[in-house]
Subunit: 699 residues, 2 copies
């Protein structure tokens, strides 16, 4: 029987279950009029943003479509490439869009549920997160499945090996489309959300001294919109990309590894298994009515563990049945990825949660002011890179060796790729635990703005703070899998160049030694380009936030009665500024990712490109972890102080902590998570443009 | 004729000229009693620090001596290794010690000269800097020369190739000693100076609101001591290490490149030529009595350009006479290094001087508070990595290709190594323009504390601010050359393992492909270890600064009349805290550098070590540039605001700028400059312990 058929089945199940959850959410009441009105404003802002973003992005995709179309006419890429690129982008955007639709319809309902109980609020928020998680994995499997069948049918006349090669290379373009969209969504959403957040805090909290989410703050709606467009839509597009990337890259390596169609079947089946496991696991996420925060975290964790165990067991049978018992090393690779993901999650929590020493020490450093807070936070983030690097290193070693890399190098690389699939297989549920956070955050804002009983805000705050921890864990997964996936892509790049040479391209032989100057220069450029990208994205946040600051100050100055609460601020103006300024910088940033590998390829040849990609992966991985963890720790250190220690809210220590948190905002929500997209997008661009580089390159 | 004889001649000339300059400085008057007393306090503090540091370091060196001695008895290293290691450390420390002796005797004399004229003050400070520069290059050439003759005599019976191999491999241990000492001096001095600086500023400027260098601040003497032990003694040891490293690494590659003794002669002769060029150039550094700051900078630049031109011309004849006209590519390598150094210097200035857009924009960002100041500063530093990476990349490509690397790989690597020698050849004068800065800084402090006419302080401030720019340029040189030197070391590491295998060691063949998992994991670990090292050093500064803050607060609270100026603070207590806390952390930090390559070697084998070294070089290079330039730009943005723009001193913008400057302190003076030592030290450790790793390693 053709096992691939389980892929659309898994996908359909995921989407159906997501639809069912959406239905149950929409049945709930949104609360009183004030709550409804605020929720509506947030929805409007979010929609306005997305429409504008998709307009801008459409131009980019149209441009790329035309370029690909011309290239395909000239024979440099296959005829499917322009279409695969577009669909990858479309579905990535759709994932974000659907997730956001649900989250902007769940926030007020979460507030309303929080009036009754913490557990009730958790249920709504978590259902919204689950929709997001299931939509991402469902759409990804659906699209991959459809493309698989189309391409399989079209290339039917070719012998198996060549057919698979064609299928997987077209799927890579699909991945490139998804990554491009993810970059736009992550960076654009990240700039929006952090500009609004930073701008609102800088004037509201620090200058004027009004609390967070105070309805008098003109940027407060923009801030809540940001949670949705950045932390939901951006996150969804991002993880869609990660998920697709891991599947596509392992499929691409299946041919070189001599596994043929079976090598493609494994990752797709494991992913489908993960979908089922995630659906089952959602039923394990429930807490008692009087649940403490610790119980809640345990409830979420239970979901992740249950799904991991299901995958760990099921994958054994998948590998044994598809590849046979001689290839059980592939199973251990999957297992190593699964375990590595959980371990990275644990260490991320260790470094960013105020239950542990590092964040507590960071909180202490606020006593001597903002400067020491910054120094300590950066230092914490840097130190936190050690364990994830060691874990990923062990995972690379184990998956390469156990899958048989010592005797068959390509098989070992396939093992590394499949370990990323293992790590992301439970994405349906891990993403759910991550994506529910912004819903809770929004719910808190709505509670504040609609003047609910303080107990409501307290409950949503408990969920929000939990969300910080799970968000950090989610980022650990995304970054860890990115390192493995990027390596798989680099290996696939080498394969694709070698195939081109074999099929009559210009003669070229790889010398990937780190001492080859082309590779070396590439490595340096790769390290540099991650820093340059980080600089551009942070700058964009800084600039956009600056504009918000000016606007908020203007409103407080010009709108009489605003401070007294008798006059409403002009929320839409802030939303509009965020929308515009986040879009303005996107194209420039995207061009870094797309042009760098092409230019390096033309000047330094394929060796240089390989160096570039490895350099960017190594430095980008470390930098991304550092930024995510510094940011998470600053955020939680601030919350820790707000819980009453070190003088609590309003103290000098708290002011210093707010500075740390503000610096951490673009770290953890704009630049850090975009870096993992950058390194994969650059790899895919290299593969898609391989023919061009080989034909026109100097070296 | 044996051309090497020019090496001790050049060295002797440098040291004699340094002695002459010292003599002229000591002849000058130190000024009034208050000035003398303050200068004496600074000297005492600096001496106390150095004595304690050298005590601590001695224990480390003794330990390493014993380890090397045992290893040499067991045949794992040559009999000279323990002694070469000790002398490298000794002379590196001696360079710093002598430089500091002169600088602590020049500060008050500079203040005194500033009573009369700006140019007079420049002369004294620059003479002090020149002593430092010449002592560093003089001692380096002297020691290398002596070791060369000893080893040449001892291995006289061996055929030339083997004799040179023995000579250069022993010289590498000498380099390792120098690097170890440099690490201690840079990190220890960096922690001291920044803890004092940060601590003094946090309480004095921010909390109490007294000006910089106010004699009522208990940490003010420690701050001035710090300038000497960090920015002079640390800098000297650091650049001694860079200089020796470039010479030793190119010599080590001479054998593999098939150049024999001639390949060793070239770098040593070019360095000797650079010494003469630097001495000549000092005579070109003079300004008219009514010189503006622009004139002063031009005066300093003139010195660097004159020496560069002399080297550019002279090196042509050296290469043609020693290697013959078939090897003129080696000359172009030297030239490319020389030009790259000047270009990196220019771009460093562009990013850190307030004459240009980036620092001006950074200053603008202070208007919206500390958080945006930090974000913009980090972003600036990250963006500033692009040009140096591209310049070094071109330099690698040019020197590899033109020296013939396409046909003879080893010759190309030799070309890369020799380009680092070209870059550092004019160190005598570039170091002088760098090392005069702290003297001017101290002179300003002494002027303030001894209540001189404001014009005196204004003059020393002009010199100090100029010093900031030249210091940033100097760091550019140190980091740029470090990248090239580190690559040369990595190549030398490969050679040394291959030689061991050929001479009967365990069978081993390199597979340095970036896709080999051992190399890959090494690359990741290398990227991570630079972050870990950065974290540890910044943390150390933070902790030490925290202790100073507590102490300064205590004194202001407990010493009655301190604020009114009727009672003297306990300066020595702060000096003592800085001294102790800077030493405490050193061993742990040094162990990262020494143990990491050994552990990686034992677990992942020589491929893993090569990956580690390349990864650390790539990430370390980018990180070091970023930290140095962010720090420099924050410092100058603060000075720019203090010059009166954006509200000037005391404004909210200024407060934000002070936070930026404080974060930048450990960036630019502790961690950034230590990173380049780290990457070279790890490389040398790998080479020295190569036999051990090959024998006991798992892979």
């Amino acid at each position: 029987m053709d096992l691939i058929v389980f892929v659309p089945i898994g996908a359909t199940l995921a989407l159906l279950f997501a639809a069912y959850l959406t239905f149950t959410i929409f049945k709930l009441d949104e609360g009183d009029d004030a709550m409804k009105r605020i929720a509506e404003s947030i929805r409007e802002g979010a929609n306005a943003y997305l429409i504008r973003q998709y307009k801008g992005v459409s131009i980019f995709f149209l441009g790329m479509f035309i370029i690909f179309f011309i290239l395909s006419r000239m024979g440099y890429v296959s005829i499917f490439v322009p279409f695969a690129f577009i669909t990858g982008g479309f579905f990535s955007g759709l994932s974000g869009f659907l997730g956001m639709k649900v989250s902007t319809n769940s926030n007020a309902r979460t507030t309303n549920a929080a009036k009754k109980s913490l557990n009730g609020a958790l249920k709504v928020a978590f259902a919204s997160g689950s929709v997001m998680g299931l939509v991402v994995v469902g759409l990804a499997l659906l699209d991959l499945g459809i493309w698989y069948y189309i391409l399989d049918w079209y290339y039917n006349a070719l012998p198996e090996i060549e057919r698979i090669a064609q299928i997987t290379s077209n799927m890579l373009t699909f991945g490139m489309g998804a990554s491009s969209m993810a970059l736009f969504a992550r960076v654009g959403g990240g700039i929006f959300t952090k500009a609004a957040d930073v701008g609102a805090d800088l004037v509201g909290k620090i200058e004027i001294g009004i609390p967070e989410d105070d309805p008098r703050n003109p940027a407060v709606i923009a801030d809540n919109v940001g949670d949705n467009v950045g932390d939901v839509a951006g996150l969804g597009a991002d993880l869609y990309e990660s998920y697709v990337g891991s599947l596509v890259s392992s499929s691409a390596l299946a041919v070189a590894a001599g596994l043929g169609i079976k090598g493609v079947t494994i990752p797709l089946l494991v992913a489908s298994l993960g979908v089922i496991a995630s659906i089952i696991a959602t039923f394990f996420v429930k807490a008692k009515e009087d649940a403490t925060q610790k119980n809640l975290l345990r409830a979420l964790r239970r979901g992740i563990y249950v799904s991991s165990i299901i995958v760990a067991i099921g994958a054994f049978f998948i590998v044994r049945n598809v590849l046979g018992s001689n290839y059980m090393g592939v199973y251990y690779s999957i297992l190593s990825g699964l375990i590595a993901g959980v371990l990275i999650g644990f260490f991320t929590e260790y470094y960013t949660s105020d239950n542990y020493k590092p964040t507590k020490k960071l909180a202490e450093s606020t006593k001597t002011g903002a400067a020491t807070t910054i120094i300590s936070g950066l230092s914490l983030g840097m130190a936190s890179t050690a364990m994830p690097v060691i874990i990923v290193g062990i995972s690379i070693f184990v998956s390469f060796t156990l899958s048989g890399g010592q005797n068959d190098f390509s098989l070992g690389l396939y093992g590394i790729a499949i370990s990323a699939v293992g790590m992301l297989s439970t994405l349906g549920i891990t993403l759910a635990t991550d994506a529910y956070g912004p819903v809770a955050d929004n719910a808190g804002g709505i509670a504040e703005m609609s003047n609910q009983d303080p107990i409501v805000r307290k409950r949503t705050d408990a969920l929000d703070s939990l969300g910080n921890t799970t968000a950090a864990t989610g980022k650990g997964f995304a970054i860890g899998s990115a390192a493995l996936t990027a390596l798989a892509f680099i290996a696939a790049y080498k394969d694709s160049i070698e195939t081109l040479v074999k099929n009559g391209g210009r003669a070229f032989e790889f010398n990937l030694s780190v001492l080859n100057p082309q590779v070396l220069i590439g490595l340096f450029l790769g390290g540099m380009v991650t820093f340059l990208f980080a600089s551009r994205t942070m700058d964009a946040v800084g600039r956009a936030a600056g504009k918000i600051v000016v606007e908020v100050r203007r409103q407080f100055k010009e709108i009489k009665g605003l401070m007294e609460g008798t006059e409403e601020p002009d929320y839409a103006a802030c939303v509009d500024i965020c929308t515009k300024s986040s879009q303005k910088e996107l194209i420039g940033i995207a061009l870094i990712a797309i042009l760098t590998p092409i230019i390096v390829g033309l000047l330094l040849g394929p060796n240089g490109v390989a160096g570039l990609l490895v350099g960017a992966t190594v430095t980008g991985f470390v930098l991304a972890i550092m930024m995510a963890n510094s940011g998470g720790a600053w955020d939680n250190a601030k919350k820790y102080i707000e819980s009453g220690v070190l003088g609590g809210k309003g103290s000098e220590a708290h002011k210093a902590a707010v500075v740390g948190d503000t610096v951490g905002d673009p770290f953890k929500d704009t630049t850090g998570p975009s870096l993992n997209i950058l390194i994969k997008l650059m790899s895919m661009v290299s593969i898609v443009f391989a023919t061009l580089i080989l034909t026109f390159g100097i070296l």
